[in-house]
């Protein structure tokens, strides 16, 4: 049976209140949804809360899902909205350990990766990635959101436009501006370190 057909069947049962079918339905997008939430909320506990709240909302409003679009895109959209709601509510964010914190608590500074082979690659790729991710916090929420969805999770422009409920033109310009801004932040950090 094709995955689509199976998804349709699970959806039908879940709409009638079958929790098991619902759990099967969300199983395939649970991991990605959790990681989206973590990037937004920066800690596992909040991400789990957001994920649970999202799934309950989805379960409750399953009947409103129009089956002409992809189910997982709909799920991620709800997760994004839930995360944004939580961020707005918790404007005095509690201080918790970020999963991106480095061990020695100092800000690591690395050069912007230069594929042309420029000098001084200080850290390995993983640490570079983590540093770049930590710099996302210096972006505006809107800029960070688009980077998370496009660059970290690889959603297409069309998917992002559905998830954020905006036009593809808006997605295009936001992605470009956000990446340029992120690059500037990394450059600023490099300058601070080397001056």
């Amino acid at each position: 049976m094709s995955a689509d057909l199976r998804e349709k069947q699970l959806l039908q049962k879940a709409k009638m209140g079958d929790e098991n079918s619902f759990e099967s339905l969300i199983l395939s997008c649970q991991n990605k949804a959790f990681n989206i939430a973590i990037r937004y909320l920066k800690n596992e506990d909040d991400a789990m809360d957001a994920l649970q709240e999202s799934f309950i909302k989805i379960f409750r409003h399953l009947s409103s899902f129009k089956e002409d679009s992809r189910f997982d895109t709909w799920v991620y959209r709800i997760v994004v909205n839930t995360c944004n709601d939580m961020l707005r509510k918790n404007s005095n964010q509690k201080i918790t350990d970020s999963i991106f914190k480095t061990e020695d608590e100092k800000e690591t500074v690395i050069e912007i990766p230069d594929v042309s082979g420029s000098p001084e690659e200080v850290f390995n790729k993983k640490e570079k990635t983590e540093h770049i991710i930590s710099c996302l916090e210096k972006l505006s929420q809107e800029q960070k959101e688009i980077i998370v969805l496009r660059d970290i999770h690889g959603f297409s422009y069309e998917e992002i436009s559905k998830m954020l409920d905006c036009s593809i033109g808006t997605v295009k310009s936001r992605i470009n501006r956000s990446r340029l801004r992120l690059r500037e932040i990394l450059l600023e950090q490099n300058e601070k370190h080397f001056v």
Binding site: G17, N20, E23, L27, I38, S116, K126, T129
Partner: protein, 347 residues
């Protein structure tokens, strides 16, 4: 063409335009003409090329960010919350309770449940309660067979008392790959259509590739005199089906139990009733698939259109890592499909 700070005006303008296109270029969102224009510019403009390389590098590194697995406790937490939410939704009238199965199914399943209680209680004693009859470590089922055989003996003895006419006997377990309880009327010829209750089936009773189930021509069956007894009691219901192997009862935690006569009918039918042999078959595939895993099958349910859904809890993977996560394996058309959100399990 004017010069500004030594740079041709045309190039300055073009750089700012190109800059707006760099992200789209990285994401393959430009048409062919635009791609050509960007590439031509990048080949001659060091500043733009540097910026492009840096943006591309950032994009690629972010794409390699590690995915963090969903914590183990989440699924239990979600399950509990979903159940609570469902009750709320029923109270609010948003959903109705699950439609009741047809009366026929209810009668059969409830009757089968009574019949299975005796098996289950013995199974509980032998620590097989709640498990499907295929242990994950692939140990021999002899102990379980013996348990079932003894229960069958008890039933057989009871049956004998009830019928007053027939006598039951236990077949020599060694004579078949399963232990079988054969209900036989003394002195009667084996009838072509008989209900059996057998032990946990052996692995060689997988359905054939045509979808039909192996049948056993051995005339080991006989017909019970009274045909109206419910199958789930100590009596065995008379059913007119072909003598077959591979019919067995399986145990589920929820109300998915199939009665003996449903099971029996399944082996000759071509429709969804081919359940028992199918479950046995898929269990075998699951065992092979999960060789080396420490797991427990939580539930086996029959969905529509011939699908068997197995809920399986993975304690440890074959890599030795602890997962404590639930997966699902769906069996249909002789194949299995695994639904697993954790990509690290290797499933």
């Amino acid at each position: 063409m004017t010069r500004i700070n030594g740079i041709r005006r045309e190039s300055v303008m073009k750089c700012s335009e190109i800059r707006e296109l760099l992200s789209l270029y990285i994401d393959n969102m430009l048409d062919d003409n635009q791609v050509k224009e960007v590439e031509e510019h990048l080949s001659s403009c060091d500043a733009c090329r540097k910026e492009y390389n840096e943006l591309k590098g950032i994009h690629e590194l972010l794409g390699q960010a590690e995915m963090i697995p969903v914590p183990d406790e989440f699924s239990f937490r979600l399950k509990k919350t979903l159940s609570e939410e469902k009750l709320k939704m029923i109270d609010e009238g948003l959903i109705t309770k699950q439609p009741k199965k047809k009366n026929r199914w209810r009668l059969i399943t409830s009757v089968a449940a009574i019949f299975a209680v005796g098996i289950l209680s013995y199974g509980l004693y032998d620590n097989v309660m709640g498990n499907l009859p295929f242990p994950s470590d692939g140990t021999d089922l002899a102990g379980m067979k013996a348990a079932t055989e003894e229960t069958n003996n008890v039933k057989a003895a009871g049956l004998k008392g009830k019928t007053g006419e027939s006598e039951s006997k236990m077949e020599d377990p060694g004579s078949t790959s399963n232990g079988r309880v054969v209900m036989k009327e003394q002195g009667t010829e084996p009838q072509p259509m008989t209900t059996y209750k057998v032990n946990i089936a052996a692995a060689d009773n997988a359905p054939t590739d045509s979808g039909s189930v192996q049948t056993n021509d051995a005339a080991a069956g006989s017909r019970q005199s009274e045909g109206d007894r419910p199958a789930a009691t100590a009596d065995v219901e008379v059913e007119s089906i072909a003598d077959t192997e591979g019919c067995f009862e399986y145990f589920a935690l929820k109300n998915s139990m199939i009665s003996q006569d449903e099971c029996s009918r399944s082996l000759t039918g071509s429709g969804p009733e081919r359940n028992s042999a199918a479950v046995q078959y898929y269990n075998k595939l699951i065992e092979e698939k999960l060789a080396g895993f420490d797991y427990q099958v939580l539930e086996c349910t029959y969905a529509q259109a011939g699908e068997w859904h197995f809920r399986i809890f993975i304690f440890r993977g074959k890599d030795g890592n602890t997962y404590n996560e639930e997966i699902r394996i769906i069996g249909k058309d002789g194949k299995t499909e695994t639904i697993c959100s954790n990509g690290f399990m290797g499933l």
